[in-house]
Symmetry: C2
Subunit: 332 residues, 2 copies
C-alpha cells in the first residue's frame, strides 16, 4: 500500500504539504498542489482512513444495533439511516442482537472499542446500565423504535398508542366486540404502548377487558402462530384480531390458514406495519403503516445534530402512523 510518504517523496515535498492538499486545510501553491495530485494519481494513492481516524479521533462510522436485519421493518429503517449517513460521509456498522441481552452487551462493547462516532439502538430493554454508562462517557446515542425509561438519549419512535387506538377503534366501529390482540415481546415499549392504545379504545366503549384475548407471540412468527391458534381455538373465538407487528401478522395469518378459517369471513384482521405485499394478496390487509425509513433517517439526523453541538438535546420524536383500511375487516 502506498502511503502519504511515498506521495511526498515522488512530488518532492513534505508529508505535511501532501496532507494539506488532500484536506485543503492550508494554502499551498497551485503548481505544488498540481504536482502532489499528479503523484497521488500516478501512485494510485488512497489515504488510510484508519490512520486518519486515530489521529483525528473520528471514525465516520456509526453503529446500528437492531434486533434483526431480516425483519423488513428494521431493514427499511436501516436503509433510511444509511442513506442519511452516506450523505454526510458516514458509514453504518450493523449489529443484530436477536433480541438477546447478551448480544446487545457484546455489541455495545465492540462498537465502543471501535470508537464509532455514534450509535442508533433499538434496545432489548433490560439493559439500561451499559447504555447509561456509554452516554456518560460521551457516546452519542439515539434510541430507535423503542425507548428506555431513565436514559437521557433522544428517541425516534412511532405513534404506537395512537396507531393501536385507531386500529381498535376501527374494529369497534365495524361492530366487533370480542377483539383479540397478538403482541410481541412483553417488555419493550412498543408492545406496552400498543397495548395501551388497544385498551383505550375498548374502555371508550365500555368493554371489559378479557385477559384471555391478549396473547404474546414474542416477536417470532412461530410464536405468533402458536399463540394465534390457541386464541382462535377458544370456544368464544374473537371476531377480530389485531396483530401488533409484521411478524405477528404473518403468524396470525398462517394460523388462520392452517385452521381452515377464512379472513375476513371468519375472522377480521388488522396488522401493524405495512409492506408491499400487504395490498397485493388476498385479503388485502388493513394495516397501521409505520414509516421505518423515516425513523432511521431522522435518527441519524438527530445524531449528527448532537455530534456538532456542545450541549445535546434529548427530544422524543414521534413519527405518525397511517391507517390503511383495505379488505381484511368485515362489518358485523
Amino acid at each position: 500500500m502506498t502511503t502519504i510518504r511515498d506521495v511526498a517523496r515522488k512530488a518532492g515535498v513534505s508529508v505535511a504539504t501532501v496532507s494539506y492538499v488532500i484536506n485543503g486545510t492550508r494554502n499551498v501553491a497551485p503548481e505544488t498542489a498540481a504536482r502532489v495530485r499528479a503523484a497521488m494519481e500516478e501512485l494510485n494513492y488512497h489515504p488510510n482512513a484508519v490512520a486518519q481516524s486515530l489521529r483525528t479521533r473520528s471514525t465516520h462510522v456509526i453503529g446500528a444495533v437492531i434486533s434483526d436485519i431480516s425483519n423488513p421493518f428494521f431493514a427499511t429503517l436501516i436503509k433510511g439511516a444509511e442513506d442519511c449517513a452516506r450523505k454526510n460521509g458516514y458509514s453504518l456498522l450493523i449489529c443484530n442482537t436477536s433480541e438477546k441481552l447478551e448480544n446487545e452487551l457484546v455489541y455495545l462493547q465492540l462498537l465502543s472499542r471501535k470508537r464509532v462516532d455514534g450509535m442508533i439502538i433499538a434496545p432489548t430493554g433490560k439493559n439500561d446500565a451499559l447504555i447509561k454508562d456509554l452516554i456518560e462517557r460521551g457516546m452519542q446515542i439515539v434510541l430507535i423504535d423503542r425507548k428506555m425509561e431513565g436514559v437521557s438519549a433522544p428517541a425516534v419512535l412511532s405513534e404506537n398508542e395512537q396507531g393501536a387506538y385507531q386500529a381498535t377503534r376501527y374494529l369497534l366501529d365495524h361492530g366487533h366486540r370480542r377483539i383479540g390482540i397478538v403482541l410481541g415481546l412483553p417488555h419493550v415499549s412498543t408492545t406496552t404502548e400498543r397495548l395501551l392504545g388497544y385498551r383505550r379504545a375498548l374502555a371508550e366503549d365500555g368493554i371489559a377487558e378479557d385477559p384471555s384475548l391478549i396473547v404474546y407471540g414474542h416477536s417470532q412468527v412461530g410464536g405468533a402462530r402458536e399463540a394465534s391458534v390457541k386464541l382462535l381455538n377458544r370456544p368464544d373465538r374473537p371476531s377480530a384480531v389485531f396483530a401488533t407487528n409484521n411478524l405477528m401478522t404473518i403468524g396470525l395469518m398462517t394460523a388462520i390458514h392452517d385452521l381452515g378459517l377464512r379472513c375476513p369471513r371468519d375472522v377480521s384482521v388488522i396488522g401493524f406495519d405495512d409492506f408491499d405485499w400487504a395490498a397485493a394478496f388476498e385479503p388485502p390487509l388493513t394495516t397501521v403503516a409505520q414509516d421505518p425509513y423515516l425513523i432511521g433517517e431522522r435518527a441519524v439526523e438527530i445524531l449528527f445534530a448532537n455530534l456538532n453541538q456542545a450541549h445535546r438535546s434529548t427530544p422524543e420524536i414521534r413519527i405518525p402512523t397511517r391507517f390503511l383500511p383495505r379488505g381484511s375487516v368485515q362489518k358485523l
Copy 2:
C-alpha cells in the same frame, strides 16, 4: 478515554506488559497479570480498536456491497453473512448501491480507504475494472448472488438456471403453453441465467419462443407492475407468468389485482424467492425458494478461508434452490 498507558501506570508496569496480558502474546507472571486486569477493570479500559487496526493492519471489518438492504433477499443474505462474521470476530459495513454503478464505485473506494479486510459484493455488473484492480492489489473479494465474467474471485450463487427450468417445466407439465416471464435487470447474471432455464424448458417441449412474452421490470416493484400490466393486457394473454425475483412477483401480483384478474383462476403464477408471507396469504404462492442466508454465510466462510491462505482459491459455489408447489398454479 483511558489508554493503555494509563493502565500501565496504574498497574506499575510497562505498556508492553499490558498489551501482552490483553492479547496473551507472551508470558506474564500471574500476579502481574492480575494487577493489570484489576487496573483495566478499575479504569474501565477498553482497547482502542482503531489504534490496533493501524498497528496490526487488520480492521476485522468486512464490507458488504449490495443493491438494497430493504430487499428481503439481501436482508436475509446479510443476516447470514453477519452471523458468520461475528462468530469469527468480524463486523459488517453495509453499502446500498441501489443498482447504480456510480454508487458502487464510490463505495468500493470508501471500503478500500477504510482498509476493510475483505468485501462481499453483489456487483451491478458493468464495473469489472475497479474490482479487478482491487483484487490485484490484494483485496479479498467474494461475489454474491451475481457473477462477473473475467474477474477471478470466488462467487456464491443460486442454481438459477436449474431453478427457472424447474418452474417453467412445472407450468408446462400443468398444460400451460403461453408462459410469460417477468425479468429483473437486463445485464446481471441472475437474469440471464434464469432466462436460460426458462428457454431450455420451452425448447424441450418444442415451443417457439415468443419475444412479446418476455418483459423486464428492472428490479423495481413499479416497473414490474407496469410490465405485467402490458403483458396481461395482450389479446393473447399468457395463461401463466413466471416472476424471476421477489420484487417482480409483488409487481406482478399487484398488476393482477389491479386488472381485476384472479390468480390462479385467470392466470397462474410462480415466483422466484420464497418468504414467510408467500404461504400465509391467498393464493399460497408456488415459488422457487433461494437460500439467501446460506449464500451470505458461505460467502464470508470462503472469504475467511482465503484470508488465511497464501494462495487463494476462486471457486464458484452454487446453492441449490427448492421448488415449492403451492396453490398459485392451475392445471389446464
